[in-house]
């Protein structure tokens, strides 16, 4: 019974993974093929599309700006959201529902609709604060709230915040120490996950930047795609692969740390019980 079931499961998994794999990898391969096409019908393949990236000033600027935003936004999110969530859990538990609701709101307001209302605010910002593209971070922080909140909330729920923080405070730690040396290390994987989701969102964001007349990476790719399709395809493929590799590498780092911490916990969480029951359905 067990063996045949396991065999059927294995076949099922292989079929699904291969079919879906082809479905998703085909466009990536096609993009690579497209980006290396020569100029005329039978012209030889060329890497010109890729090498020209460095010489397309708009693209380089877009890449740099988006990378900066990919660093600023998660940092700002951690600085704003994490202390607030900790504070609400410890001191203002009645606000938890409200914070959760507010953090879910951006999911319900489509970016395109939000931009309609953001435009006047951004005009004020561009005139009075800074016209730099980096001010997009303000809007991006809102866009990443739902994903970050859920991840950080799961991380906070998995650690006994109250006990740990009170223990630290009673030993004389200030709030800064509590945050940096107690909270953060205990939810490093959740923080990492939240940051990674933010990075992916920022690097792939087009709507808000485009409608607020900023030029970030995706907007620049779109511009270039209207003049030089080879280079645009090359950068689009490159940005996809870069984000993927980033997430993959960091998922390896994050997981192993998380595992260690959970094994030492006194209170078993559902996550650790999943680890105990190794054999999946």
């Amino acid at each position: 019974m067990q063996r045949s079931r396991r065999l059927k499961l294995l076949i099922f998994r292989w079929v699904v993974l291969v079919v879906v794999g082809v479905f998703f990898l085909a466009p990536l391969a096609a993009m690579f093929e497209f980006s290396t096409r020569g100029n005329a019908i039978n012209a030889p393949r060329t890497l010109e599309g890729w090498t020209l990236v460095g010489q397309t000033p708009g693209l380089v600027k877009g890449i740099i700006v988006s990378l900066e935003l990919a660093v600023i936004t998660p940092l700002a999110m951690l600085v704003l959201l994490l202390p607030t969530m900790v504070w609400v859990r410890l001191r203002l538990p009645s606000l938890k529902r409200i914070v959760e609701f507010v953090c879910l709101l951006p999911l319900t307001v489509p970016a395109i609709a939000l931009v309609v209302g953001l435009k006047p605010i951004y005009i004020w910002i561009e005139i009075n604060v800074s016209p730099l593209t980096q001010v997009l971070a303000f809007a991006y922080l809102i866009l990443i709230l739902p994903y970050s909140y859920r991840t950080l909330d799961a991380g906070l729920a998995a650690m006994d915040l109250k006990t740990l923080s009170e223990a630290a405070r009673s030993l004389g730690a200030g709030w800064a120490t509590v945050m940096l040396r107690v909270v953060v290390p205990n939810m490093s994987s959740a923080i990492l996950n939240a940051s990674l989701l933010s990075v992916a969102l920022v690097l792939g964001e087009y709507t808000v930047a485009n409608l607020l007349n900023f030029q970030n990476l995706q907007v620049e790719i779109q511009y270039v795609s209207l003049t030089t399709s080879n280079t645009a395809t090359a950068v689009a493929l490159g940005s996809l692969l870069f984000a993927f590799i980033l997430l993959l590498v960091l998922s390896f780092i994050g997981r192993s740390r998380g595992r260690r911490t959970r094994a030492e916990e006194i209170i078993p969480s559902s996550a650790s019980s999943a680890g105990i029951w190794g054999q999946r359905v």
């Binding site: 466009p27 609709a113 690097l203 792939g204």
Partner: protein
């Protein structure tokens, strides 16, 4: 967590100053989320000269706006349905493997990227694959199969649905995996020890448990597709009849000068639809999580 006891020790002073800790967050969200939403809501009810009106909503009656709503609803539902099924199957294939394994990491990383990366990159990918000069098109043409014999379909709803699947399926994997993770092996063993087969397991145990979450995730996919702007904008540069493109068009055309409220009315309508769908999703998710936490 016994939160009430935590509140006691600081006594009376706690009330007057604890809430200050929440101010930065609420101030920020108030400025960048609630205020814009307020601007939309208010703007849709006023005309250019500032008089209260419902005329903006009445204008939604125009045939091409109705058509945009219809088109958007259709492609959102179809791509959500297909994406949910394929995504759930893929999620199951992943979850039955090693929870710490490379496959799971690969799939979740890829899903994380693709779910966010809609728009420009996907439009480019579509053209590169099945465009008139696309790789697959030429490959099939060389073997005698012209996929465009019946007309150029990549710009029709069916083409849009195809490209939407590329971020719907990953999104489904991301949001449905936690529910699948919660399936306990004991339930499977219990079914078997009671003499049930695989079909019994899915029909009477796992199926009903997962159904609310599955439905909820499908709704989330619907809301996601409905709100999507970047993909259609990057693909249909000449404009197409979809509601997100319509809003963008209204924001930048001359109609904006004479009737600024229309874009806001459309935006508000979109928000209402998405709010309804997302609330249903939240309700369904909480029902599932009772069992699968």
């Amino acid at each position: 967590m016994a939160s009430t006891t935590a509140a006691r020790p600081s006594g009376g002073r706690r009330f007057s100053l604890s809430w200050v800790g929440a101010v930065p967050f609420f101030a920020y969200v108030g400025l960048f989320l609630l205020l814009p939403t307020g601007i939309i809501v208010v703007g849709s009810f006023f005309t250019k000269d500032g008089s209260l009106t419902l005329a903006n909503f009445a204008d939604i009656d125009k045939p091409y706006i109705i058509k945009s709503f219809t088109n958007s609803l259709i492609i959102s539902s179809v791509s959500a349905a297909i994406g949910a099924v394929v995504g759930a199957v893929l999620a199951y294939a992943v979850v039955t493997g090693d929870p710490n394994g490379t496959l799971r990491r690969l799939v979740t990383s890829a899903a994380g990227v693709l779910a966010q990366f809609g728009g420009v990159a996907l439009a480019i990918a579509l053209i590169a694959t099945v465009g008139s000069e696309g790789f697959v098109t030429k490959f099939l043409l060389a073997r005698g199969l012209n996929i465009y014999a019946g007309g150029l379909w990549i710009y029709e709803p069916i083409g849009i649905i195809l490209v939407y699947l590329y971020f719907q399926i990953p999104l489904m994997v991301l949001v449905f995996l936690p529910a699948l993770d919660g399936l306990r092996p004991q339930w499977r063993e219990a079914t078997e020890s009671l003499g049930g087969s695989t079909w019994h397991y899915w029909r009477y145990v796992a199926g009903p448990l997962l159904a609310p979450s599955f439905l909820g995730c499908t709704l989330l996919l619907f809301a996601n597709a409905f709100s999507a702007y970047a993909t259609v904008a990057a693909l249909l540069t000449q404009g197409g009849v979809y509601i997100t493109l319509e809003i963008q068009n209204l924001l930048t055309s001359e109609t904006e000068q004479t009737q600024p409220g229309l874009a806001q009315a459309l935006a508000l309508t979109m928000i209402v639809i998405v709010v309804l769908v997302t609330s249903l999703y939240t309700v369904l998710q909480s029902r599932t999580s009772k069992w699968l936490r």
